[in-house]
């Protein structure tokens, strides 16, 4: 078992395209690190460089204490699970799982035992004599996992291993993969474009965009404290509501469309830098679940801020309602929000113009076309610099 250390790693293709720019990332021994980002952000390239399937243009890559920049895949002691599973179609499930062990010339009896143990963990025992072509997608995915775990590698690398499964199976396998990783306690680098997978599986999540690492932290920290507009828009489904706003004198008010929101002094205590944005435009962000309908909020909010909109559409999800409302404020579409994969109904696809989305109590009395009043905890507001897109924090 070992850690992965990526130091200022760069990838430039022969045509001059820079896929990764000075990526710094450390995956501790036993840690489950998820690399997430939209298509073409460089996350798979980064993973392939760790696997030794892509040359590294610059920087240093370590697995354990060893620099592996120029070490071939077969000598890196890694196991990789591919998006399309890459099972050998001419071998049975047992042969697929035990192939790497056979190459290491491990005694047959030992291979058999390890394969059977892995099959038992993954519920594949009765399929061991089948060929991959005779298995369902979920079973193939498990064989791919089996092939990886039986090797007892230093590092697990997974390239969107659940993306070919249907939604229900994906949820089931998500938990299973996470459980296996915890059980084996091997450093894992997991690539996905699905932010729900990233949030639910990773010990830490690294968000990438256009070859650059945006933020790397625990899932809840990423969600609660996104460093920029991209991370704010990418993490969360439905995406964060982002509106253009102008702060008033002393940053005591925020003009969002025609609505003037009173910003209490407690907010300035949390975000002192906000004062320097007095009389300047900012982007204000509110998560859909931070928009409870006035009167429905679970606990009384001190110094609450009220925000209003016209109900345009109500989606009943059983456990909650997704309320699409319109305001006269200008909605800012964060780049990442469009790419974020989602299992919810509203990944931002329905939002346009001054629309926002609120996630409210299932029994809220809302009528389409009527005005709705949200009561917001000021501590839940996010503020971003419109020029740099960076979060306005301390």
């Amino acid at each position: 078992m070992a850690s992965i250390s990526i130091e200022k790693v760069t990838k430039i293709y022969p045509n001059g395209f820079e896929a990764i720019h000075e990526l710094d990332l450390d995956v501790a021994d036993g840690e489950f690190m998820v690399l997430v980002g939209p298509s073409g952000c460089g996350k798979t390239t980064a993973l392939r460089m760790v696997a030794g399937l892509e040359d590294i243009t610059g920087g240093t890559l370590r697995i354990g204490d060893r620099i592996v920049n120029d070490v071939s895949s077969k000598d890196r002691d890694i196991a990789m699970v591919f998006q399309n599973y890459a099972l050998y179609p001419h071998m049975t499930v047992a042969e697929n799982i035990g192939f790497a062990l056979k190459l290491r010339k491990i005694p047959k009896a030992e291979i058999k035992k390890k394969v059977e143990d892995a099959a038992a963990i993954l519920g594949l025992t009765e399929w061991l004599d089948r060929k991959p072509g005779q298995l369902s997608g979920g079973q193939r995915q498990r064989v791919a996992m089996g092939r990886a775990i039986v090797r007892e590698p230093s590092v697990f690398l997974m390239d969107e291993p659940l993306s070919n499964l249907d939604a229900k199976l994906r949820v089931q396998m998500r938990a299973e993969v996470a459980r296996i990783q915890r059980r084996l306690n091997v450093a894992t680098l997991y690539v996905t474009h699905d932010q729900v997978e990233a949030m639910t599986m990773g010990d830490r999540v690294a968000v990438m965009r256009a070859g650059l690492l945006q933020q790397c932290d625990k899932p809840q920290v990423l969600y609660d404290h996104p460093v920029n507009l991209f991370v704010a828009g990418f993490m969360g489904s439905p995406a964060m509501n982002l509106f253009d706003a102008t702060l008033g004198e002393g940053a005591a008010t925020a003009l969002v469309g025609s609505q003037k929101l009173e910003l209490p002094s407690s907010l300035h205590a949390i975000r002192p830098a906000l004062k320097s944005y007095a009389n300047r435009p900012v982007i204000i962000g509110i998560r859909p679940e931070d928009l409870p309908v006035a009167g429905d909020e679970p606990a009384a909010i001190d110094e609450a801020v009220y925000f209003e909109g016209d109900v345009e559409l109500v989606e009943a999800l059983g456990s909650e309602l997704l309320v699409h409302f319109t305001t006269d404020a200008h909605r800012v579409e964060a780049e990442g929000a469009k790419d974020a994969d989602s299992e919810g109904l509203s990944a931002g696809a329905l939002t346009k113009g001054g629309e926002g989305v609120a996630r409210v109590e299932p029994r809220s009395q809302l009528v389409v076309g009527r005005r709705v009043r949200f009561r917001i905890d000021p501590a839940r507001f996010h503020f971003f610099d419109p020029a740099s897109g960076l979060s306005i924090t301390s």
Partner: protein, 297 residues
């Protein structure tokens, strides 16, 4: 349930009348689409035209010279004459030897080259592949004389090795093209998974790619077998001795004699054509698969 039972009972007699029913369906189809009938009749005529030489060959091989001239009666005299005048067994053996050895070389070279073109990255790869494809465009007849002269200098005329090298040399480019197309169709992840499992390029080729390439290898083998078995020109130039002639060369010698017996020639032609026809019939599905390689990518 009660509604289904009478339905089943009604269907049963209809199933018994199936042939008549099928004929009626065909007739209905024909009336609806007369163009199909015309196409069918046309194809029937073409098939008959193509099968007629085989029928002619089989029927006349079973006749003596006189029976052939009169057009009546059957006998096995011509077959006896064929085996008396021609070392058929030896020539079949020679053909088999040359075919098998050439195909073995072609398969070894084309599969390795195909894998390299499809899965490895190296300098001047495109140019090299273009050269291989380009060499397919050069007709054998146009360069056979220089090849002959060079082989004569190397004392390879009238040796099996000479003919085998020529067949292998001319067969490999097309086979390489087919194998490259096949290997390009294999997902890169398979060889990458093999690399992660601990295999180098050679290991990936032999233990992962090659076992999966059986259908493509079979296609190449069948195509080359038919081509090499049926070839006359190379055999005629490079295998002139009576002891190392192939069956097609032997047949050529038989037909160039002063007195040509058509029934004996037909018997010889049948012996010569049969292996290629049998190979084609048995491995037809590989041929179709091979010729559509890359279509469904």
């Amino acid at each position: 349930m009660s509604a289904a039972a009478p339905g089943l009972a009604r269907r049963r007699p209809a199933a018994r009348r199936a042939p008549r029913g099928r004929f009626r369906t065909v007739w209905k189809e024909a009336r609806r689409d007369p163009v199909k009938v015309v196409i069918f009749l046309l194809l029937l005529a073409v098939s008959a035209g193509m099968l007629y030489p085989f029928l002619f060959m089989i029927l006349n091989s079973l006749r003596s010279e006189n029976q052939y001239l009169s057009g009546t009666g059957f006998s096995t005299v011509s077959w006896g004459q064929l085996f008396a005048n021609l070392p058929v067994g030896r020539e079949l053996l020679n053909s088999t030897l040359v075919c098998v050895a050439s195909i073995a070389i072609i398969l070894a070279l084309s599969s390795a080259a195909g894998y390299a073109f499809a899965k490895l990255r190296f300098r001047r790869q495109g140019l090299l592949f273009f050269a291989v494809i380009g060499s397919m465009m050069v007709p054998l007849q146009s360069i056979i004389i220089p090849v002959y002269v060079n082989f004569a200098h190397l004392h390879l005329i009238n040796t099996y090795l000479g003919a085998i090298l020529v067949y292998a040399g001319f067969g490999t480019p097309f086979a390489t093209f087919l194998m490259t197309t096949f290997f390009r169709g294999l997902p890169d992840e398979l060889t990458e998974a093999a690399a992660c499992d601990g295999l180098g390029h050679a290991g990936s080729f032999f233990r992962v790619a090659l076992p999966m390439a059986k259908p493509a290898l079979a296609t190449v083998a069948v195509l080359q077998f038919i081509q090499i078995w049926d070839d006359l020109l190379v055999g005629l130039l490079f295998l002139q001795e009576p002891t190392n002639r192939t069956i097609t060369v032997g047949l050529g010698v038989l037909s160039s004699g002063r007195v040509v017996s058509v029934p004996v020639l037909m018997a010889g032609s049948l012996v010569s054509a049969l292996p290629a026809v049998l190979v084609y019939l048995f491995f037809q599905r590989y041929l179709v698969a091979g010729l559509t390689l890359g279509v469904n990518r």
